[in-house]
Point group: C2
Chain length 618, copies 2
Amino acid sequence: MASEDATAASPATYSKYSNRVVLKTLLESSDGGLGLVGQRVVIGGWVRSSKEVMKEPVAPLPPIDNRMDEIKSKDVSCVEILQSRIPLFRSIIKVLGGSGYTIREKFETVAPKPSPPPPSTACLQVTDGSCVANLQVLVDSSIASPSQLLPTGTCILVEGVLRQAPGQGKHVIELKAEKVLHIGTVDHDKYPLSKKRLPLDMLRDYSQFRPRTTTVASVMRIRSALSFATHLFFRDHQFLHVQVPIITTTDCEGYSNMFKITSLVGKTDKKEEKSTIDTIEGVSLDVIKAALKEKSNLVENLKRSESNKEALAVALQDLRKTNELVSQLDAREKLKYGTSVKTDKVNISEEFFSCQTYLTVSGRLHLESYACALGNVYAFGPRFHADKTESSKHAAEMWMVEIEMAFSQLEDSVNCASDYFKHLCKWVLENCSEDMRFVAKRIDSNCIDRLQLMTSSSFEKISYTEALNVLKQIPEKKFETNLEWGVTLTVEHLSYLADDIYKKPVIIYNYPKEVKPFYVRLNDDGKTVAAFDMVVPKVGTLISGSQSEERLNMITARIKELHLPRDQYEWYLDLRRHGSVRHSGFTLRFDLMVLFITGLTNVRDAIPFPRSYGKAKN
Amino acid sequence: MASEDATAASPATYSKYSNRVVLKTLLESSDGGLGLVGQRVVIGGWVRSSKEVMKEPVAPLPPIDNRMDEIKSKDVSCVEILQSRIPLFRSIIKVLGGSGYTIREKFETVAPKPSPPPPSTACLQVTDGSCVANLQVLVDSSIASPSQLLPTGTCILVEGVLRQAPGQGKHVIELKAEKVLHIGTVDHDKYPLSKKRLPLDMLRDYSQFRPRTTTVASVMRIRSALSFATHLFFRDHQFLHVQVPIITTTDCEGYSNMFKITSLVGKTDKKEEKSTIDTIEGVSLDVIKAALKEKSNLVENLKRSESNKEALAVALQDLRKTNELVSQLDAREKLKYGTSVKTDKVNISEEFFSCQTYLTVSGRLHLESYACALGNVYAFGPRFHADKTESSKHAAEMWMVEIEMAFSQLEDSVNCASDYFKHLCKWVLENCSEDMRFVAKRIDSNCIDRLQLMTSSSFEKISYTEALNVLKQIPEKKFETNLEWGVTLTVEHLSYLADDIYKKPVIIYNYPKEVKPFYVRLNDDGKTVAAFDMVVPKVGTLISGSQSEERLNMITARIKELHLPRDQYEWYLDLRRHGSVRHSGFTLRFDLMVLFITGLTNVRDAIPFPRSYGKAKN
């Protein structure tokens, strides 16, 4: 079937809702698009890189007298001809001028300017974001001005004919443009991207443009594929999708760093609020000073490496801008008493919800309610932590996949988590091969091998106590934290287990009850609880799961022990009062899964618009 | 293929991650499960209704003397026999007592109590939430106490043998329990659900239990199917899924009722905060008083109808509880000065993000950034409006599907919206037939016909101006709002168009610029903008879309005209500065789609945990 499609001269497939052919359908067909040569298509996209190729010098012109008719009918091209024939200038003016023709004005307007650019062809590498590969688009200068087309980032919509690309280059086909339908120009001085690669950490300041880079586009396509694969996996295993709430009054996990929601704070008149924001430009001085340091380091590194001049230029410009901002803010800081928002006293009963509400940190408690009615359920949405510690693995807003299954125990969740994780790895290998090849080239050369290993190997399963013993037996390794039973395993411990000892995902289960949330089921030993973590190489804890405590007396005792506000949990306790059942589930940190797949090291590069301490712009 | 599966005696399919057979696989197979008769299976679920069937009276016992050995070996059953044979009492005591047997104590303990229940069978209608139908499970009283099993809401996990159900009832198969593996009992006095149906508005107070009702379970399964169908549609049309942020600094649409996010308000010590919440029970007096009125009305209605005694009992109990709460709160209200949270002055630079952040009202602006890089993109997530007006079509937190397409115009979005909408209708008809049949029976008898009509008919397309003219020509109808050109079409106008005039979805396009957000593209007439709404019968505006203004000068002029804070939009304007392109998109209000499909009238019944003014509990 597939090969038939490729060889048949079927017309190029137009995108159903925009009058253009999506480049992926051309460039990722099995023959690289050869079967479509000769077809007229419309394509749209952004220029990733470009060059201008000058045309062969034009053949000598025939004597001017033989071409008078032609000159009369084409007033524009005749100007070019005239310029090359200055000696004949006066006689022509005389002839044409006498016949009332307007060439005099045309010529006189053009004459004082420098000579027009010689004919050329703009060779544009165009992407429309649908695939890694670019389409080479050739636009003659007679159709559109090269100066408008050439800058990186320019948007074009062109009609042309597909033809076989010459030579043995990476392109199989190219497009010879015949009509330019749209040009979205770029203000070159202000556009932060260029055809040279910028470091990912610099790109973070330009969330609005990042997906135009090959790397971020690939990462986002992989992210999208992972999202679809998630829905597919759970549907195939008879899970129902439940949209749990973001706004909550329940402090899941007794976690204290929750964002609060208010309809009251800063309820000043619009003018006053605006001026406050202006004064501090929306960011604090500390945050900017930290950024300044970071940016200085970057510039130093770029200078040292000497590899990327354009990146250095951008970094320098950026550093200057930040420096200016700091001086402005320093000055304003001294007037700070003028910047506080008028709030006076907040009466909680005047709040929109008449009570204190938060952004949810986890949907699992709410999901339990649906599991205890519908069986197998999952949620997929953003979760929030107001955690100020800067970490490459955390952001304030992260997407989580949460599942909950009635009539299941810890082992069931471990198995489901493992299968789901393997499914994601397999899906990406099978459905994102071009993006993965690119990611292997650009970010992490091992990423494809790693995924293949994941789909074929079984994972290590050890209890918390065993993990501790394993770590204790490493004589050459001195950990910062003492390895007494009961301690929380740190990132250092976990990465040592997954990266150095087992070199594959490690599932650690049966944790001391003190290090896990109140709702995790107490084991018969009275000391440990039925929780697990799946720790994967390079990323750390990717999945956390548990069997929930279904016994009313046990869970109320835990709530009391931990001094949690019981009123918040009455609805949740109801699930144990009436028709309680064993159930278990887990959370997969979706953004970290993107890191694991791609080999990226900072979660901010895997999230479309990352939010973290001091950073919520765009 | 399907019929082969059904007739073959293949074993029942166990849920992969819980040791039970999901009821849907039994009850929705083409033969209703007949092919599985004789098989031993484990099933789990909750009792929806039940009855106790007494066993045939036992045959007369043989003379006691012949059964002495049996009596010796079975101390429990002999008590029953003894009770029926009181005259022989003393001689047996003598015999057994002399041999050191313990029957004396047993007998004496049991004797003062009323006679034990005669043998019976509990006939349980069990659901596990996977489908509409229940499985009838028969549990002999010898296996488990009927009093524990019979209450609605009881959870059971049982092993038994499937057998053909007797008679011509609605059940094809039933399960004869042989082992009860788990019982999750119900505290009958406190459990709000009963086998009689409660009105949906009463169920709203019990979000944690609602999905255990047949109606809400069906609605939630349909909702889940709609979610999957959404991802499938956009994937099949080469859209990428982009997770746009919830936390934003950008006031999309210049909408003023945004929730603010803070890490500062109420930053008092934990103890103080808790006592505040206790004092007002998390809800304001006004809200409870409104609820009280609502509940009184409900009780009156139920009394009048006399149709549902259990519902009335629950309603009365609920009313009493609310009454008590009001008196408590009234008393506490007088001490209100003690309840305000200590906040003093809030300095915005101390906020987590160092600036004022909001819960997003729409992801479309952020999505544009990805469309202008990756082509066709969509988002699917919760959006927020702090809108106090009570409406059956609005909640504070609602899920939206947003799409954005580069190189597209208004008409493309209209076509995409129509196709997507039809796809959803078709998907539900084909994949949720049992649930739709139930919904047709219980909620809206026309719902299936309506969906069939949607998939086959074309929609009405009229401009705003035409819509106004059509409405003006209705002499018998007097609208509350004047129909001058430029007015916002009200719910009243829109429902008249969709429900009364056209009786099908109506697409209204080219609105006056004043009634649409700043980012919508100005048409050449300078008066109207390229926006559209799809208004559907019964629900109203389901989809809103627009072509975005891609011209920098035009959009900055609109921002100025509307006095919007331009700093917020600089990143967004960047998309017009560099590589701008025509693009369009739309938003589908997902929760309203569930209403449209099911015929429900209040969006709170379609959302797992609805949030609205004064309501965020659970």
